[in-house]
Amino acid sequence: MARNGVSPLSLGPEKLPSRAGLVVVGGGVIGCSIAREATRYTPDVVVLEKESDVACGTSKANNAEVHSGIGEDAGTLKQKLNVRGNQMYDEFVRGLGVELKRQGLLIVVTQRTIPRDGGMPEEERMELLTRKIPAGIVAYGENAGIRGLRILSRDEVFRMEPNVTREAVAGVFDPTYGLISPYKLTIALAEHAVINGARVFLDTEVTGFRVEDGAVRAVVTNRGEIESSLVVNASGVFADEVADMAGAGGFKIHPRKGATLLFDRQVTAEYVRSSVAEFRLPGQRTTQSKGGGAMPTAEGNLQLGPTAIEVEDKYDTSISAEEIEEIFERFHYLLPDFPRDALISAFSGVRAPTLEEDFVIGASEAVRGFVNVAGIQSPGLASAPAIAEMVLGILHDLGLPREPRPDFDPVRPAPPKFSELSNRERNRLVREDPRWGNVICRCETVTEMEVVNAIHSIIPATNMDAVKRRTRTGMGRCQGGFCHNRVAAILARELGIHVTEVTKDGEGSPVFLGVAKEFLGGGTR
């Protein structure tokens, strides 16, 4: 059942290859970006992912932002790669079938940026708020290489975003800011890599490395060993532990959680058109994040967040009542009338910063052939193209072929989305296969055929969440109440398993615990 080498355990384990030219540890957006870029030069690439799908860590739970770099500290690697990554993005996603929307960022300067009671003469205060601060923001961004920044008057701010607080006094618009679905991008990159010869192994956890004479020789996993003299460590929050397994460490990842609230897109469509963030002076930030914002998702839901809370557990994707309140309070100022009642979901992701708070990218000095790509927190999604470019440079130096392949296929075909088609196209599909006319998820208008396609895609969806990431089933206002049993039944049918074996997101997360009467002692499967 394995296709193109992809082989989650639930589809029957395929043997790992005995050797590979390059092994990438981690199937997040960074690992998959590097793998896809590497296949431009060699098909001999293997990606190892311990979860049941790609994009299961930080890559699935962030705000989908392609930042410009304006929020980063000058002179950091982060800022350099962010600015470059943003500029590379259109080319990077070409042929992937994933939409990049450059909706822009509106930075709002408000009355509370410099409080009235600070003792400053009012004329001087307004001069700062409406001229000097906006001009400073623009100068800072231009200095970092960001193009197209422009200062907005108070009226222009309201024309652009009518729901912003009346406390706004001026703004800066950054047109390069974008949005992209981070998990759709990751899935597309992984599939594109597979189309070009790479193999992605899910449910495959790295447990160690074989290092001889100061060079990496093999990657040891729960499913066997792969010989390779080139390894990229793109394992996100676990990057320090994975590096330590090889003796190539020396940095520490301290997980930092971020929670985001998500609103019904029918209610919040156009509530904000761009990403909207409040400008705060240094020292006014309450958290170790850029402060977050209000923005549409790639699919049009309003999102508010994220928070930034240091946590012990790298798996801590919980959300506390205090966090939810904090988000509501924070955005009450910026968007006084935002529609609280349209809240449909909240999610939390774990960032992977190092103590230095900058990206750690480079060949290990201790272990030849081992490349760390660590500390990738926001703006990691925005920086992904530039990170991949930088890592490819390092890999070429370590022996990866330099000659681009003439047979590289530039296109990853994306399956059709019923909700985005014209009625004529819809009818053509229904005539081809009536499953295109069977709406499974009523809130998001997802048809049976889209679910089937997701299950049989190049990186196959083998559980409820994986189907959801590819099709949006269960992502709407009823949150799967009406469709969970239908999606589970299709998964069971297509995978040839019993419906009680269907999981939410891999091992240990069964959707159903038994069949009726089973707990009475009389049930049979």
Binding site: Q266, Y315, T317, S318, I319, S320, A321, E323, I324, D341, L343, I344, S345, A346, F347, N423, R424, R426, N427, V430, R431, P434, R435, W436, G437, N438, V439, R442, T445, M464, R477, C478, Q479, G480, G481, F482, H484, N485, A489, V499, T500, T503, K504, D505, G506, E507, G508, S509, P510, V511, F512, L513, G514, V515, A516, K517, E518, F519, L520, G521
Partner: protein
Amino acid sequence: MSAVRRPQCVVIGAGPAGLGAALAAREAGLGDVMLLERDFELGGILPQCIHDGFGSIVFDQVLTGPQYAQRFIDRVEAAGIEVKLNTMVLEMRGDRRITAVNPRDGVFELEPASIVLAMGCRERTRHQVMIPGYRPAGVICAGAAQRDINIEGLMPGRRVVILGSGDIGLIMARRFTLEGAEVEGVYEIMDHPGGLTRNVVQCLHDYDIPLHLSHTVTFIHGRKRVEAVTVTRVDENLKPIKGTERRVPCDALVLSVGLIPENELSKQAGVELDPLTAGPVVDERMHTSVDGIFACGNVVCVFDLVDWVTQTAERAGRSAAEYVLEGGRRKRRPPVRVTAGRNVKFVVPQLLREFDREIELFFRVEHPERAARTRVLVDGEELYSRKAKMVRPPEMVKAGADPGGARRELENITVEVVTEEEEA
């Protein structure tokens, strides 16, 4: 695409509301009635409601959900009403143009002379009541769990905590127990049960399932599958009281925290909604703000008795038929708005236009009250009054009043609850 069809009436949704409305429209003289249903069978939520308690008003009999539904299904089939199953309405416009899809017909368009909205309601989810914690498998709404067990034959939990004592939550406490699962308890944030008294007795007391009033779930534990929930006592402002947390091991959290009328299509068509009911504003003919679009059942407001859903459906179906047979030419008189007075949360219908027949008003109280009198005031004159030992939010009240066929201009109609204490 095939030619646009123009039925006399299209009913959206084939639960008790849609079935009743389609039949009423047919029986009132429409030959060309079409019933659209997104599920694979008729009956809406009723086929999964295998408990009894349905039909005492309409049939003077106690029936199960499937029995109640079947009586209408048989009649719909006998009446020659065109039924389209597995059919999802994709779009409805204010000029009554409907776009729908199903596997047989593909995408098709309808331009009916009238529409009856009968889409029912959906369940409020964990995020709408903002329960913090992880997002594991095993957090499920009570109605969805009911479908899993009674239709699919699947158990979504084995050791269950139920949050919310609405009727579905209570019924599912009993249902899980009968299936051999353990229900640790039912937790209710309010200081009174959310469901009918008979359900508290028959579903909890009879099975020794504890009901914890003034409690809520404040955290969901478990990264992959629910492992436990934290339950906490709440104060009079419904805020959790620090120090009263208790961790309850369980593998499923079942939520019965409210229902929301499904009005996404109504919004598309520009139908005016009442913020109090989250359903369309209707008049005594169940006519919405959009000409030729009627509504009935739980899409209008959440009823607790299916019999009353049927009554509104018959009214809507009959009105749609009258509307079509009159050629849509009847002039709609300017409405009088019905005011929700003291201790009344909402009233349906919200508008009254004609007073040549008895008015029937459905309403819900805001908070429980003893020794209460409900009354309807028409321009200050009390035209309906009824004493009750107790009024409670879960139990909807129906009041009738006859304004005496008045052709006179009315200004104000108020529904209110007064207590003996106050009157004294």
